[in-house]
């Protein structure tokens, strides 16, 4: 984290982010050639705008997901938070521009409470993040399915402009997303809690022995993750003009955001990774999608390509980082009891 670390360790972090951007560059070059081969220009304003627009929603979710994954947890409730916040905002605004602030604040506030709930369940009740957020997601889904039959509310024109306008080829939504990413980057680099997020994700026990409150960074990460998912929901509401109860789950933002975060070089077990890597991962997805749309690839084949790219890319990262990370391997789960009978039996059986 600072200059005093040993040499090989210092190289790891910029290295992994650099590979992400090298991979992005590779995808862009291949994409440009493919798009060029069907007589279209990859670097046209329209295409760039499409790619950047595609980045913004997933970008918001993935930035929050990065924080949660850095602490060693997961958030599977994001798609439902996205849907819920789009509905809350659209219903509060009711097409009246005077209610914009209220709607945004309500959506963000409810999301923060959901994140707080996630964080407390993970840290205080000791429920694995996977199950905790899966359960909370199901609870929100039950609420959405019960209360809403279809899209509801409406968003005033002024609010729709956020999703529709741009500076040149760069959409405003993407600029906001990158601004949020910068804030989160500064939060991770410059604040105490930011450093604690890395520490807790690296090893809860070492963090605790170093005198940290290990619960606090996890809770903060979950709250921020839900808030950024709510931002994605607000953006979707602004684009659709209404709130929708299925917009989040249709986007598959839970698994896609996790995939984007890991594609960005963040270690799924926590403790290692950067926000800019995640943005790179999101960009790779956006470029892939745009190229496949231009090439008119069958929508089902798109999923096949996505799946293969996720696995292949992560295989490349882990293959590279293998040697340097060796001392950490197997560190996971060292707090579990060692006197497990299974272990003795296995030893005896060999």
């Amino acid at each position: 984290m600072s200059a005093t670390t040993s040499r090989p360790r210092r190289r790891v972090r910029p290295g992994s982010t650099a590979i992400v951007y090298l991979a992005l560059l590779g995808v862009i070059i291949v994409g440009a050639v493919l798009v060029g081969s069907v007589g279209r220009n990859f670097f046209s304003d329209g295409n760039i705008r499409d790619i950047l627009t595609g980045m913004s929603v997933l970008g918001f979710v993935a930035v929050g997901q990065t924080l949660v994954i850095l602490t060693g947890s997961l958030d599977l409730s994001v798609p439902y938070v996205v849907s819920l916040s789009s509905l809350l905002a659209a219903e509060t605004m009711r097409g009246n521009s005077a209610n914009i602030v209220q709607g945004v604040l309500l959506a963000l506030g409810v999301a923060a409470l959901i994140g707080l709930g996630n964080g407390l369940i993970v840290t205080k009740l000791r429920v694995n993040g996977f199950i905790a957020t899966l359960g909370v997601g199901l609870i929100i889904k039950g609420y959405l399915d019960t209360m809403y039959k279809g899209s509801a509310g409406s968003v005033p024109r002024e609010f729709q402009l956020i999703g529709a306008t741009g500076l040149g080829p760069v959409p405003v939504s993407t600029i906001i997303m990158l601004a949020v990413a910068t804030l989160v980057f500064l939060f991770l680099r410059r604040t105490r809690t930011g450093h604690h997020i890395y520490a807790v994700g690296g090893s809860v026990d070492v963090a605790r022995l170093s005198g940290l409150h290990t619960a606090r960074p996890v809770i903060v990460a979950h709250v921020l993750c839900s808030i950024s998912a709510a931002l994605a929901g607000l953006l979707l509401a602004s684009r659709l003009g209404v709130g929708s109860p299925t917009v989040g789950s249709q986007g598959g933002y839970d698994l896609l955001s996790i995939a984007a975060v890991v594609l960005g070089g963040t270690v799924l077990a926590g403790g290692r990774g950067t926000i800019w890597g995640t943005i790179g991962g999101v960009a790779i997805f956006a470029v892939l999608d745009s190229v496949m749309s231009v090439m008119q690839v069958n929508p089902f084949l798109k999923d096949v390509v996505r799946g293969v790219v996720i696995v292949a890319a992560v295989a490349v990262y882990t293959g590279r980082a293998l040697e340097r990370r060796r001392p950490r391997f197997g560190a996971k789960g060292f707090d579990s009891a060692r006197s497990d009978p299974g272990l003795d039996a296995a030893g005896a059986a060999r």
Binding site: L125, I140, L268, F300, L301, G307, I310, V314, G333, R350
Partner: protein, 359 residues
Amino acid sequence: MSTPAATRQTSRLASATLTLLSPRGAVFLLLAILLVAVTLLNPNFAEPGQFIRFVQRVAPVAIVATGQYFVIVCGEFDLSMGSLITAQVVIAGNLIGQDESRSVPVLVFMVVFGAVVGLVNGLITTMLRVPSFIVTLGMMLALLGGVLFWTGGAATGNPADGFRQIGRGGIRDVPVVDIIPWSVIVLAAVLAVAIWFSRRPFGRTLVAVGDNVTTARFAGARVWWVKTAAFLISSLSATVAGVLLVGYAGVHPSVGRGYEFIAITAVVLGGVVLGGGRGWVVSAVAGAFALETLFTLLNVAGVPSTLRDAVQGAIIILAVAYSATAFRSRRRVRTAHASPTEEKVPAGDTSGGAPAIDS
């Protein structure tokens, strides 16, 4: 002679009570409570004929949970199970069609296909060191996309009736229960094999690997093979569930959707710890039954189907919170006894990682 026997019996009773309250046993208590609740609301449910139908309906979920147990207990995830079920269902529908003579070759093909999927999952996880969450997520996308691409997104007809009998038929004219469905027999066989596996050195090694990879490797376990075998088992169990579901539910691209999460939920309800190293396969199957009984209960109680998800979410959080806190208090007692060695091992383990955090 009688006194020691009596004390043994009391201590056995006490330990049985303890087991019932412990996370691995709590699921049976939960299951019993749910079954009683369903029976109270709908007395027909307890009739043998009705009950065996219920078991038949749960069989695919329970089989998938069995497979997922092996993967989870060695510290991995298998998110590709649901997609694999869909793939197998569609394969059966498309390749068998109305030609009953193709049943056996296609069945063999499905088993081989399942094995290949499991092998790929396992080898990429162990050889290329990609987290299994990502590997099986990629496999999930690729399988579902591939199958839908192959069929053009639309489901094609059901396979021949003879093949569907595996999932919907059974031994008829049995006294008491009227019919013993084949799927119940398959479930019993799968469970028996699973128990046998987990008692053999393989099963013990699997748990050891899930508890601590490094220690298991030092103890001489072939970690890559054990984990790959776990993925093989889970893919094959998804294949079996697919065969049953073709008969029971027919061919549709949505058959199998969400099964991976249901299976993980069931396994975790059974007190199996995510991250590996702890759990019992019978509890995992009981978890599947508890989950399905819960759905039945909500159905019988007239809870709107839209609220079912919410109740399911709340229950799994509570169940896992219970087992997590129970395990924690237990571990504390243990740690107090073993504290000298306990302190030493993590310190040696993390010598490489610790400086990075301090600085």
